[in-house]
């Protein structure tokens, strides 16, 4: 006989009851209730340790949670389009330490506002989706941390049949030292809507801070939603992200994660294709140089017959960089006709660099085809030689090959200027030498 033992609440350093009491004030009761529930759940989940399978390669000690203090919930304001390529988007959102700025004149059928505003103006949508069905199995410490403490909440809703040509840009720029930014994004694409969102994380200087982000995406029947995350934080940033998407009948979700900045990053992307003909694409690009540590996990969950998913993650490790890719394709009992694959390719460019790859298949259904492939190695010497016989020197040839290696993922990014920026970032990383 075993008796039920109450596990004591376990808080990560800096995110305890005192911190929570300080954060919840003046919000809609709906939001407060959710925060409290999340805070309770979060306290009940044991703190992750390097003994847990999920943290074996990325010790939670690397996050050094105690160094960071949660920034107050960010207030909403208006925003003028000012940045160089703001004009290239239908909607621009800017999030800084103090302000969540929104561009004026939203296109018809598009709602973009703070989560707090949404709780007042669209309570029915918040009820139905916020912390809803897209979220994964319980027990994810950092997701609950965000659920309880988020301080930059954004709500995006695109109405039925609305097509955004240029898409939405969300730009983050953080300056506060030792702050904890907890961005929270809820995206709902109604039936037949089409749009893309680019999240651009930037912090230009050495400021150390923590970003613990959580995002939920819902794509209803026939919707086509593309989400690109360009993580280019400064070199002292710890980045944790939990992305969860749910894709209905005939809908297509495209989740592209580009990890280049920060010091340590732990990212989880989960996508459930839950009705027939639902389709998901998960793209990833990561390049760990210097002493960067990138850990990414993908889940392709097939919960219905005739669902499709493709995953392509491409990474490079240079200097003392360390990258981890871990992924699962899961087909639940009865989901026949699934077609899914995972590809993870890694370049190890230097002695001292390391890459781990753990693709996985958990298949419990019939009449399907699932596969994965993973490779590791340096640049192909034959390709290098070929380029050199055309007069291109070794350094340039290596650059061309590395850019070529990543190109398939880069091509998934809408907006040519962003593709160019990616090329520049990759080149810069190649040029940096570790002394």
């Amino acid at each position: 006989m075993s008796s039920t033992v109450m596990t004591p609440p376990q808080f990560l350093a800096g995110f305890d009851e005192a911190a929570f009491d300080a954060c919840a004030s003046g919000e809609a009761s709906f939001i407060c209730t959710r925060r409290e529930k999340a805070f309770n759940d979060y306290g009940m989940i044991p703190n992750p340790t390097s003994r847990d399978e999920e943290y074996r390669r990325t010790d939670p000690m690397l996050f050094r949670m105690g160094r960071y203090a949660r920034m107050p919930t960010i207030a909403t304001g208006r925003l003028q389009k000012t940045r160089r390529w703001d004009e290239a988007f239908d909607v621009v959102v800017s999030i800084t330490d103090h302000r969540l700025g929104l561009s004026e004149d939203l296109p018809a059928g598009v709602t973009v506002c703070s989560l707090n505003d949404a709780a007042t103006s669209h309570p029915e949508l918040m009820e139905g989706y916020f912390m809803g069905a897209a979220s994964p199995e319980e027990g994810r410490k950092f997701l609950e941390l965000n659920n309880a403490f988020w301080n930059a909440g954004l709500f995006i809703h695109v109405a039925r049949g609305v097509v955004l040509e240029k898409g939405i840009l969300i730009h983050y720029d953080v300056e506060a030292e030792h702050a904890a930014l907890l961005p929270r994004l809820l995206v709902i694409g109604e039936e037949q809507s089409q749009f893309s969102i680019i999240e651009d994380y930037q912090s230009s200087h050495e400021t150390p801070f923590l970003c613990c982000s959580a995002r939920e995406f819902y794509a209803h029947a026939g919707a086509q939603v593309k989400l690109v995350t360009l993580q280019e934080w400064g070199p002292s940033v710890v980045h944790i992200a939990e992305d969860w998407a749910r894709v209905d009948r005939d809908a297509m979700v495209d989740l592209v994660s580009l990890s280049l900045g920060g010091k340590t990053s732990k990212m989880t992307v989960g996508c459930t294709v839950c009705e027939p003909q639902a389709n998901a694409y998960l793209g990833g690009l990561y390049f760990a140089n210097d002493k960067q540590h990138f850990d990414q996990k993908t889940l392709q969950l097939h919960a219905a017959p005739d669902t499709f998913s493709k995953m392509l993650y491409k990474g490079a490790a240079k200097d003392k960089g360390y990258s981890v890719y871990q992924g699962i394709i899961q087909a639940t009992h009865g989901s026949i006709g699934v077609d899914a694959y995972q590809t993870n390719n890694n370049l190890i460019l230097d002695k001292g660099a390391r890459a781990d790859s753990l693709p996985g298949l958990i298949i419990n259904a019939d009449e399907l085809a699932c596969s994965h492939g993973a490779t590791m190695g340096n640049l192909d010497p034959e390709q290098l030689h070929y380029l050199r016989t055309r007069g291109i020197d070794e350094v340039e040839a290596r650059k061309i090959l590395v850019l070529g290696f990543f190109e398939e993922v880069v091509q998934r990014v809408p907006h040519a200027p962003i593709q160019e920026r990616l090329h520049d970032m990759i080149e810069r990383k190649l040029g940096d030498t570790d002394e």
């Binding site: 298949l361 009449e367 085809a369």
Partner: protein, 476 residues
Amino acid sequence: MAKLETDSKLVQDYAFGFTTEIEDDQIPMGLNEDIIRMISDKKNEPDWMRAFRLKAFRHWLTMTEPKWAFLDYPEIDFQDICYYSAPRKPGEGDDVDPELARTFERLGIPMNERDRLSGVAVDVVFDSVSVGTTHQELLEEKGIIFCSFSEAIQEHPDLVQQYMGMVVPYKDNYYAALNAAVFTDGSFCFIPKGVKCPVELSTYFRINAENTGQFERTLVICEEDAYCSYIEGCTAPARDTNQLHAAVVELVTLDRAEIKYSTVQNWFAGDEEGKGGIYNFVTKRGLCRGAHSKISWTQVEVGSAITWKYPSCILEGDHSTGEFYSVAFTNNRMQADTGTKMIHVGKNTSSTIISKGISAGKSDNSYRGLVQILPSADHAKNYSACDSMLVGPDCSANTFPYIESENDTAVVAHEATTSSISEDQLFYLRSRGISEEDAASLVVKGFCKEVFKKLPMEFSVEAVKLLELKLEGSIG
């Protein structure tokens, strides 16, 4: 009068499920230091061996059962197992108890010297002890030592002390520690410098006694330029309780030596409802210690209720090679979590992994494998291909590769597929007049062919027959 019969409905499709009624010499159930001393006394062991067992046991007490595998089974009560069971010694002058000889004849294992034509030297382990080794003279001429582990402890203590635990230390894992504490017998092979073993060496394991665990230990050593091919086969009677098997196999190759290790594992798998069957928790590992040496594992896993097994290679010598070829078939309620580890330490080391999993019924079949390239392993190469086939809607097939590379000159490529048995292929064959069951059998055999052809010839034929037998009733 002893009798041989298949007296249980459990064993309809398990031809090896009969029991042998033979007098046993058993010790009491349970596990403690006294039991370990008792085992050691029974075997009249030297002090160093007894000390090794006790050290391992004390360490085991500090460990917990691993839970990471994709397996689901009730907790094992380690006190409810008998750790030593031996058939009582036959009278003076007899080679082998005639009842035992009949048992092994029925299993197709030649126990008598007159059966030498098979070109296979056999050591037979019945429950906890070795009951006879054939071909001794021929092997002795070449300087090859092939005997039971107990005999090796008595006759070749230096070699045993030098190599035992070198590849699988007693601290390695939960089951390896348990084995080190309680192992009762097994085989010992030593191929000296420059000798190519002229016959296949083989150990045949059979668990007979009820509530008995089998904990054998095998050690194969090939010195410089030596070669041997080793075959392991296993069966057990069909019983409706679970029996534990926790073996340790260690292989060591020195410069330019090669060991080819083949297994056909056909322990009783339990009945359709998952009642009974062997829990098979095995640690098998080879150390390519010398340059240009090679270790090749081939396994055909068609039995056991639970299989937890990862025959591995540590590629320490420069230019050494590791191979793993596996067919794992599960049906009914069987659960298998099996694969390999290839640890690349030396320069220019290479490894190949070919794994074929077939799941039918309500079984779970998982491949789990690690490819690790250490910083020292310049120009290491690995290729892995893991294919799973699902037969029916209620089984699961899982693939969990772990790839770690810390060297920029290494090349690793892994690919895996999971698919259902092809309707198109079945239809094509059936349109040519082949029955559905035969068609499925052909497709499955084709799927596994790459692995079967790695087995020694006669053994390969046996393995194919065994798979056919297992497939009957799994399809359609």
